[in-house]
Symmetry: C2
Subunit: 109 residues, 2 copies
DNA sequence: TCATCATTTTCCATAGTTGGAAATCATCTC
DNA sequence: GAGATGATTTCCAACTATGGAAAATGATGA
């Protein structure tokens, strides 16, 4: 997947409170889709779709054990997100002086 | 704003390639809405709406100088995003220490 | 005041997201 | 194989996002 598309998918997946809740739950360990459905309070079908979105962003992956599908956090993708965040945090930090100068110059409010 | 809603807005704003492009451009310094419209290749009206979404996520703020509205990156919200990412990344290894060290080194906020 | 410039808002058409119900699929147990 | 269980897919209705055109707003300068 193109890097831009991957970031689109990652950030979109993160842009929903319930999907972040699912990730928080998975941080404690793998959970079946049914267990996750209990947590969100939604039907299995809806939960399955949220999980699919998280999977599309590579934020989790699935394994099957007997009849149950287990979701696991995918730690690798955090590296990528962290990279994006860190890169911008670094770049932005050097611009504060310019910003202040600009504000002073233009007399902007 | 509720913390959950803020994160919704931040991540949603980041989930579009062109909005990330706008942020990248702003990293080099403030830009007027018209200048940003040139960059996205979209009409002013559409650009203005993307900017509004970024503003809703507090990723930027505006100032006015004469007839032009200037967009500036908002550094403060980065702390919050970094926090969320770091909290989750923590589960995954000591690599978060690298991020924190990096952020500290560069003086990023 | 009036015209102009930069931006925002409104309106509309198109496309995508969401959740539940029901159908379907995959796997297990007997 | 039959039946049960867990998960996914399909279908539909409601809602939201998007982009452009045109109208409206706000600020400036003559």
């Amino acid at each position: 997947m193109e890097n831009d598309e991957r970031l689109d998918a990652v950030f979109f997946a993160l842009s929903d409170k319930r999907r972040r809740l699912l990730l928080a739950e998975l941080a404690a360990g793998p959970r079946s889709v049914s267990e996750l459905a209990t947590i969100t309070g939604m039907k299995l079908s809806a939960t399955s779709k949220h999980i699919a979105l998280l999977e599309a962003g590579s934020l989790l992956f699935k394994t099957r054990h007997k009849r149950e599908v287990y979701c696991h956090l995918n730690f690798d993708v955090w590296q990528e997100v962290t990279s994006y965040i860190a890169m911008h945090a670094k770049f932005w930090s050097g611009r504060i002086d310019e910003l202040e100068a600009h504000l002073k110059d233009t007399g902007a409010r």
